[in-house]
Symmetry: C2
Subunit: 346 residues, 2 copies
């Protein structure tokens, strides 16, 4: 077993604190990665706090993992020692269902294995990237280009793919008006991808102060949703709204901003169900859809696209001892736009 250092929440009541634990030995198809950086996702906090479902404790969060291969199992073909490597939200899946066969491991019909707060096929808990090393089957390890700043690549593994995947699935691009709702970790990546794909991108926000940031990210337009004049000008105009907000919000309002045949795509999940009047959908053949992360082939495609197009996340690198403070700032939206832990500080 591999003696591993990390940060864990011992219970749902606890703050994160140093914790030593064991990872499995490197199997024939495993890649052993020294973790260099790990992004801090809002879902890390949701899971530590059991916001969505009862978690497995102690919990080592982190699913935006980048690092360097230190060892490969005897049968590993895709990776070599010394290469950069990444791990996202998944470390395994059934691999035999219809979805897995299509590279849609995120929708594995038998349940994929989450990078942390999940259970491997042998029933043992999974531990995430707030740690110095990880061992993952090569099929769930991604290639990372040496071209991009590694720390800023980390958030692509969750925030990146979560926004890239729906924009690709619904073929968002030239000729489309895309609104991005929420300008956080996911939202800022949605703006970057939307712009890169050729859509006209509008950021919707309650805070006029975010306009400068939105434009700096490449957004073409900015609408303050509490300004009735600005709102009137965009009623019925968006082909897509990419909704990254995980707090309660008024779906009828946002549906009124969609054009005929428009699609509101949820990638953030508020704890309460959305309230959606059927008439708000029927009067313009509108849809409310959802999308979850992305499969392994698409995640690799996204990483390659980012390397080719020089796209990374805007980040603030932190010492792991700063993590509780970082969570506090994340909750109040005080981050541009993703905290990334420098694992050298562990």
């Amino acid at each position: 077993m591999l003696q591993t250092k990390g940060y864990a929440a011992q219970t749902v009541e606890s703050d994160l604190a140093p914790w030593n634990f064991e990872r499995r030995d490197v199997g024939p198809k495993d890649v052993h990665i020294e973790i260099l950086f790990c992004g801090v996702c809002h879902s890390d906090l949701h899971q530590i706090k059991n916001d969505w479902f009862p978690g497995i404790f102690p919990m080592v969060p982190g699913h935006e993992i980048v690092g360097r291969v230190v060892r490969t199992g005897s049968d590993v073909k895709k990776f070599k020692k010394g290469e950069l490597a990444g791990v996202g939200c998944l470390v395994d899946s059934c691999r035999i269902c219809e979805n897995c066969k299509q590279g849609l491991e995120q929708y594995c019909l038998n349940g994929s294995v989450a990078t942390y707060n999940g259970r491997a096929k042998d029933g043992s808990p999974t531990y995430g990237g707030y740690s110095n090393q990880i061992v993952v089957h090569e099929d769930f390890v991604l290639h990372i280009s040496e071209k991009l700043p590694l720390s800023a690549v980390a958030p692509l593994l969750c925030a990146g793919i979560t926004t890239y995947s729906p924009l690709r699935f619904w073929k968002v691009g030239k000729g489309h008006k895309l609104a991005v709702l929420g300008l956080g970790g996911l939202g800022h990546m949605a703006v970057k991808f939307g712009v890169a794909f050729g859509a006209e991108v509008t950021v919707l926000s309650t805070s006029p102060s975010k306009e400068k940031d939105a434009k700096a990210l490449g957004a073409h337009k900015f609408v303050v949703t509490t300004d009735s004049k600005q709102v009137a000008a965009v009623k019925g105009t968006f082909n897509f709204i990419l909704d990254t907000v995980s707090a309660k919000h008024d779906m009828s309002f946002y549906l009124s901003l969609l054009a005929t045949n428009g699609i509101h795509i949820c990638v953030g999940a508020p704890p309460e169900p959305h309230l959606i009047p059927a008439f708000a959908l029927m009067g313009g053949r509108k849809s409310v859809s959802g999308s979850g992360i992305g499969g392994l082939p698409e995640t690799q495609e996204m990483l390659d696209y980012c390397a080719d197009n020089n796209i990374v996340s805007d980040i603030e690198i932190i010492d792991i001892k700063y993590i509780q403070k970082a969570y506090e700032r994340m909750v109040r939206g005080d981050v541009h736009y993703r905290f990334v832990i420098d694992m050298a500080t562990l």
Copy 2:
């Protein structure tokens, strides 16, 4: 002005009763139709009772109208005296917006004119098909084949197009599993179209007694949604659910029956908003969509398709004096599957 006989609700409190009123004289582009049959839609009752919005009274309901042309305006090109003709839910629209130009008059951005309980462009109220004649601009009049039984064609003008349109828009057909929720006026047409388009059609119902009816309509399968064993067998299997129910129902349950990328299409509108958890959409890239009736070109296409494929509604012809009784039976689902008023009884 044309002296017209009909049945109207004088107020939201009143039953329907005979009422004489005037229709406009036949203008150069108008078609004057003697109404022979008019279907009874659940929305007739919703509107008389102000269930959705405050209505315009006296109200003459009816938007599933078939009859014979008795006169045409001097500039009418599409119709001749003596031909069969139909009128659906719309009698006008702005004709200049992006949607109208595409034949999507049902989504007219400036507001289409409903066949009844609406206001014409001059502000005068519109009166529907529970009457002996109607005058409509030729662009909103449909050609009806002599091949099919006329009374059974009437419901195609609303129940037919409302189900045909989304099945065509989402290209439902061979290789798809389609579930139909609700086996009433809309639902029974959804089964017929779904089967005709080549989908595998399953009727979802709480009533085991409806299985025979569903199969008689052509449905391949029938699932009693209160039977956990039957439900377990269809979890995650449907590519589409066509939801014709206008009473409250549990969307999370139905979303769990959708396959990955599945679409739940609402054509019925419950008075309360649907409760839809984002996670129920994200875990399988699912969508909840809505669709409203259809545009004029598509309605004609549907009528022609029905003539070519011998598709009509299953109906019970009634005397107009039976209308209140018919409403009572409609509310308790005691109709197979549409009442149609024989206007000779007026």
